[in-house]
Amino acid sequence: VNVEEVIAKANEYYESNASEWEFSQMFGEEDDPSSDSDTTGAEDNWISSLAFDSTGRFLAVGYNCGQVVVLTQQEDQTYQLYTEFKSHDSEFDFLTSMEIEEKINQIKWFPYDSCIPALLTTNDKTIKLFKMLEKEGAEGGTEVVVKPKKVFEGAHAYNINSVSFNSDGETFISTDDLRINLWNLNITTEAFGIVDIKPENMDELSEVITSSSFHPKSCNLFVYSTSKGMIRMADLRNSALCDRYAKEFEDTESDIGGFFQELVTTISDVKFSPDGNFIVSRDYLTMKIWDPRIENKPLRVVKFHDHLVPKLCDLYENDSIFDKFECSWNGTSYRLLTGSYNNNFYICDAFGSHVTPMCAVKPTAQQKPTFPHPNQHLEASQKVLHTAWHPNQDIIALGAKDFGYLYVRKTENDPK
């Protein structure tokens, strides 16, 4: 892959245009004005995960309350309700006397198009495989029945943060703070532990795994990120245990220094680009794009949170510095999407220099779309943590507390 060519092509094709994207839809229940968002139960309806399937036909939305809503694309490109189901219930772990939340941490769709779509959902401890069947309903119309086909449980002592399908269509990995397990979709009774970073002496614990993802095409490669800002790539072909990683990526040129250095380098999301040629990592202030062949520095650093640097103290005080933002590639591996505060989100050229800031808000007749500017008051409670990009169209989904937004790129101005 000739990186210069990639960058030139990207710059050539896309022009930054503030009104390039427009609001398409909003979903979620309108806020009850009398409810105080600090009361317990009000957070139940917050979105905790978003995922398009491999065709873009479906968008799955996971919630703190364990509910999953599946939307399907109509002919006019909008998404309507297809089905919804309760994926996980909260449980009580008797050994640790802790409650296991029903919050859906991640949803991933089976990578191959099938007449019966399947998806994996996970909470802190248990992963489930669901399949959606269309049946003839009572009145003659079609109804959608969702069935839990497999339950993968009992393999994680720590909280699960990610699941990822292998391109072989047969296996997947699940990742918690210290370990990564490899499962076969047909076998729920066993899993292979392939990565284990638990130290012999837990007092020496200094690093946890924050995210992991398989390569979209190579069945043997996966990456995982840690709280120390490291990205490790492991090759399943090398050996049965992947503790000796094949590559380790670290950006040693730090920008901040000082007390907050470690807190802002923790990586909240890491994934390969859809073409498999690059890796993106999202830390608190930047997104970094990596060429897998170069381990000691990223190919590009995309900055969009510089305005937060002077405010890190406040963000630390209200715990916002620990927020975990996701990021998403577009289908052609040229652009990246990530969320921020004030319901802002950024669409960035991965290899160009354009960063388009936008704000997720339902436009009303009176209010024109506002755009973020550095001096705006920082509203940290309004955050877009979860994002998803349609696999082959320019449609993006954003999750901001209990509301989901869909934005579409207007295509009239595209070069023909």
Binding site: Y112, S114, C115, I116, A118, K131, L133, K135, K147, K149, S167, D168, G169, E170, N186, K217, S218, C219, N220, L236, R237, N238, S239, A240
Partner: protein, 579 residues
Amino acid sequence: MLPKKGDSPKEGATSEDASVRLTFVKNLSKTAETVGPDRFRDEIIPEVKALLDDDDDILLALADELGKDEYETYLGGAQHNHLLLSILESLAKVEETGVRDKAVASLSKISHRIPQESCEQHFVELVLRLSESDWFSPRSSACGLISVAYPRASPASQTKLLLSFKRSCEDPTPIVRRSAATALKKIVPLLDKASLLQLVESFKALSVDDQDSVRLLSIENCVAFAEKLSEEEKNSVVKPVVLACGSDKSWRVRYMVASCFTQLVDSLGRQITQTDLVPVFVKLLKDTEAEVRTAASSKVSGVSKLLQKDTVIKDILPCARALATDDSSAVRASLDVMGLAPLFGKDGTNEHLLELFLQLLKDETPEVRLNIIGKLSEVTQVLGLDQLSQHLLPAIMELAEDRQWRVRSSILEYIPLLADQLGAEFFNEKLSVLCVSCLNDCVFSIRESATVILKRIAAVFGVAWAKQYVVPKIVEQSKHRNYLYRTITLTMVSSLADVFPSSEIQSDLLPFVYTLATDPIPNIRINAAKTLNQLIPKLETSYVLSDIIPFLTDKLLTDKDRDVLYFANVALQNARKKQ
């Protein structure tokens, strides 16, 4: 839930309750018998079809049930078999792999019973339809059915089947390519040379597939192809694939080469093995991944038997010696060098192998030592007993005293084998003490095993031997201070009764039972009563009448414990039946 006369047999099928529907499926054969062929075809089959979008466990039961041979009769003859085909076709399209595999298996079974005239239309067309589906699940099932349809198909259809199979080998989804790679070895034996050569390109393509899970299936296909090709073709077609897989980047592919190595050697023949395969095997024995070394080391004997002795000494043995000190205990425990002894003969074994055996026999990991002991037969035949016993016995004794009871249990399992090979004298001198001491092991499982082991040895050495050597030990056992260990006497008696004739049971074994029936501990008296009950069928009727019944009757009058009385009564009733 059996259908009663007057019940509509179809009711179960439409129940809201999934377990009722499942029962309906499992009782399908009984329903068929009740209603007869005509009604079965007209009324029941439509109900079955309505279940086709039901839960997976119902579909699995259905796929299994319909494959059974009886359904031909239930339907009213072979001409109706095709009714099942359309149901199974739907099941073969289902997402769930378990259901699909079962449907494919049932379809294969039924296909043999379809009359030739209708096979083309009903079965071959079905397979072609599945292979042309838009979805990957039916395409995957189709691969498994091609080897079944091919022999029954017309030449024109055979061409079509092969063409669709080739397409499956290049399918965009790995799932279908895996099914194709798995099915290839079943198709190869069916083809004539011309058709076989058509598949060579597909075979090669699968062996260099991007997906590890597809590539690793190539090895078994290598074996299948090699069995049908000429020497020259083996060299040009199969050998390159084997060599490539032997140095594949993925350890899983290399593992498959190691575990199928004896088959590869067999099918590729001496020439290719000598020149090309030996280096591959040596590399696998030194592989960086422990799993691969484990697979290869378990094949050392099997492969060596097919090689020339010089090659084994020069190339294989040095590796075996390295493996005996491998870091991984799993590798050392799977090392199979015992089978080399017959190859080397007495002198050769002494010179090259004995040291290796002894080293493994002293390994720190119990599993390694157990592996050696389990395979002794081949070595004892070559070397003879005396040489081995001086090394063997200490090893056996140490394993028998291992801290982990499962290790003790394993060595106990080997005793009958050793007794058989080594003979009664050896056993009496050296091993009998061990067995008897196991009767007093602190773990019950081992005490119980010991009684079974002694029985098996008694079966080998005979009743006279048992009376001379085992019975005296029972005497001692029955006088043990601790009741738990006295109890085992009764288990011992029951066990030996299996190999003793009635007269000997009566004269030598029963006295223990009588004694323990008056033991101060009720638990022992209960077990004594139970033992008597078990022994009654093996005793002579006259003895039962003259001795057992009076004894038990007396017991019922004198014993104070309720449970003892209960079991004594049970035994008495059983004894009275003999009258």
